[in-house]
Amino acid sequence: MKKDIILAGVGGQGILSVAAVIGLAALDYGLVIKQSEVHGMSQRGGAVISHLRISDKEIYSDLIPEGKADMIISMEPLEALRHISFLKPGGWIISNNKPFVNIPDYPDKNKLYEELNSFPNSLLLNSDELAKKIKAPKSANIILVGAASLYLGIPFENLENGIKQIFGRKGEEVVAINLQALKLGRELAGSSA
């Protein structure tokens, strides 16, 4: 068992908490992980990426080789495409469709959607809206994790445990809301699969 996941987004969008939920779930399931993060300059609103590697054997490289990622999970559509060279043929793209526009020359979003939809295994979710609908505006990322959960190779209950570990110290309410977001993402992916 080996899953290589690229997490992409803009500094401040919370890709590290997504990485933490999946990473802890993998550990909870008895797998090993390596997770490389971006700290520093680009966290100031720049493009950020995290490499999350999950395996049942020792993992050597902290970085995923290009062309070998099983999945890209992105907090926004432009960043999903930025790291596309990491994706292996048949790999999954799971992305929030809401553009994060903090640059003057943000590309035409329809061109982004068109490009993303040209991949056989891509799932674009309006997770911002969905999160607002379930009154969990901060949990858009967790909806993406839920959607990704079908293809992660980690049992759903371990992901739930990951959520409990990450959000536990913020109180039961926050845990419950995020569990709901996780489930919603899972259902959406299930119905479009």
């Binding site: 390596k34 700290h39 300059m41 966290q43 970085l63 290009e66 930025r82 060279s85 043929p89 903090n102």
Partner: protein, 540 residues
């Protein structure tokens, strides 16, 4: 067994805690910052058993650590690679004085310059100081090497350099932990003259350091961190240093390679092991995360008879960090990627936060500078360096911490007028104060704008050592009190700022404008914490 998921930086921090340190000294800098931050959060620091506070700069950190070591206790110093330039005087001479309690200097290099001005390789500093250097390939080794570094430091009475690079510093992996060693009690050097580097003493101490060199090499030959794997195929011998080993193994597990491999994690370079792989192999490939240090040694001035490949011969790129793909190509593997990003993607560089006071300063400064011509603003390192990029394009230099003031002075000496310096509060206390004194002593016609956001913002909001003291420091240095102006950079104060900037630029002596407003990031965090602790309530 106790197992923890740790960043490379955190593994070093945990290793230092478990090695029984009594203090850690550091100035923040990516990718080293998390070492100190981790120790600060530990219960030992909270109970006051480990001194863990930020220093004004890397030199003061290095010296304080040396002082703790003098008093017999173990100390860790951490910094980013360019920080070692600042600490270099203390660092180089600590190799001559030697140490009391174990002294480990953890330096994080940033190949590919993700957040840095250069990609200098700190292993050269280890060689320069003639001390042992350790370079982990993974988080477990980072932990074990830190423990080992303190042992080696006390065994030889010499400081030890621990070098990591960005990818390891900021990557998480499980680490098995050991029992915490007991910290040292206070003890003083047996020889009261040991640390008095008068020439007569220094000559003796230097000979002691030189006499240790063979021992250091012997340690390397038998170190558990240097391993030779004899393969079955002698066509190629591969020497890796640090994290390069992982990228090699990533590729080996793909194909079924059987070449000879020498993994180096401890320096001085293990001479016998290198000779072994050289003699066993027809050709040598060197994979190093950093400059071609080992490769240059191997090649020497008179090329050896066998082919040596690496960064100097083009099999590996001359600059930048390694990755699995670069190593695959160096091994002659075909790399195929299936997808390329479409060409309509645009870059997303980092930018100043919305609501940041630096923005208001640059807006005002740009308006004022329209009357004075372009390229007259020297600046420095921090979030505010982003003012060099559009839409501001306000500043014309960023070299090393503190250089804005001194470069403005030099340019003013040359006749440039006006000569403006823009510097952050932490950068000012790090290395700007001495330069301002130079300017005051000559009453140089420069205008210094100090962006005082009360924190070290760029590296994540650490405590700034000049918090609340900046105007006082400037006056204390001798800047005329009426030319130390304080403004609050807010859009509503735009006009006022423009006026004050103009007035002070027109003054032909040293003037300082302190733009004081809290960093928007730390402010938000502080407010959240207050709301959480119910000290304030929000009314909607």
């Amino acid at each position: 067994m106790n197992r923890k998921l740790l960043l490379g930086d955190e593994a070093i921090a945990q290793g230092a805690i478990d090695a029984g340190i009594s203090g850690v000294y550091a100035y923040p800098g990516t990718p080293s910052t998390e070492i100190m931050e981790y120790i600060q959060k530990s219960k030992f620091a909270k109970e006051g058993k480990i001194h863990a506070l930020w220093s004004a700069n890397e030199k003061t950190a290095m010296e304080a650590a040396l002082g703790m070591s003098y008093a017999g206790k173990r100390a860790l110093v951490c910094m980013k690679h360019v920080g070692l330039n600042v600490a270099a005087d203390a660092f180089m001479n600590s190799a001559i004085t030697g140490v009391g309690g174990g002294l480990v200097v953890a330096v994080a290099d940033d190949p590919s310059m993700h957040s840095s001005q250069n990609e200098q390789d700190s292993r050269y500093y280890g060689k320069f100081a003639q001390i042992i250097v350790l370079e982990p390939s993974n988080q477990q080794e980072a932990y074990e090497m830190t423990l080992g570094a303190f042992e080696l430091s006390e065994k030889y009475g010499a400081p030890v350099l621990l070098r990591i690079t960005t990818r390891l510093a900021h990557s998480r992996n499980g680490v098995d932990l050991q029992e915490r060693r007991k910290p040292n009690e206070i003890s003083l050097p047996e020889d009261p003259m040991q640390f008095v580097l008068l020439p007569s003493v220094a000559k003796k101490r230097y000979k002691i350091l030189l006499s240790l060199q063979n021992e250091f090499v012997r340690e390397s030959e038998t170190s558990p961190f240097n391993k030779y794997f004899k393969g079955t195929n002698d066509k190629l011998g591969i020497i890796t240093t640090g994290i390069a080993f992982n990228y090699l193994m990533e590729n080996l597990s793909e194909g079924d390679l059987t070449f000879n491999v020498l993994k180096i994690g401890q320096y001085p370079i293990p001479i016998e092991l290198v000779n072994k792989i050289y003699n066993d192999s027809e050709e040598i490939l060197v994979l190093e995360e950093g400059y071609p240090l080992v490769e240059e040694y191997l090649r020497g001035l008179i090329a050896p008879s066998k082919k040596i490949m690496g960064r100097l011969t083009g099999e590996v790129p001359r600059d930048g960090e390694l990755n699995p793909n670069i190593v695959a190509i160096a091994l002659g593997f075909k790399m195929e990627t299936s997808f390329e990003p479409p060409d309509f993607l645009t870059n997303r560089p980092p930018a100043l936060c919305p609501g940041c006071g630096h923005r208001d300063v640059y807006k005002a400064l740009n308006e004022v500078m329209e009357n004075y011509g372009k390229q007259k603003v020297f600046s420095d390192i921090g979030c505010y360096t982003l003012g060099a990029l559009p839409p501001f394009n306000s500043i014309n230099s960023c070299v090393d911490m503190g250089a804005s003031i001194t470069m403005a002075k030099g340019a003013a000496d040359a006749g440039l007028s006006p000569a403006i310096a823009v510097i952050g509060d932490s950068t000012f206390t790090h290395s700007g104060i001495t330069g301002l004194l130079d300017a005051v002593n000559e009453n140089s016609p420069i205008t210094v704008i100090i962006l005082d956001n009360s924190t070290v913002a760029m590296t994540g909001g650490q405590k700034a050592s000049g918090e609340g003291k900046i105007p006082q420091i400037c006056k204390g240095l001798g800047v005329e009190p009426e030319h130390v102006r304080v403004v609050e950079p807010l859009p509503k104060n735009h006009k006022l700022m423009v006026e004050i900037f103009k007035e002070e630029i027109e003054y032909k002596g040293v003037s300082v404008i302190v733009a004081q407003r809290e960093c928007i990031q730390t402010l938000t965090r502080r407010k959240k914490a207050l709301i959480k602790s119910k000290k304030i309530t929000v009314t909607k």
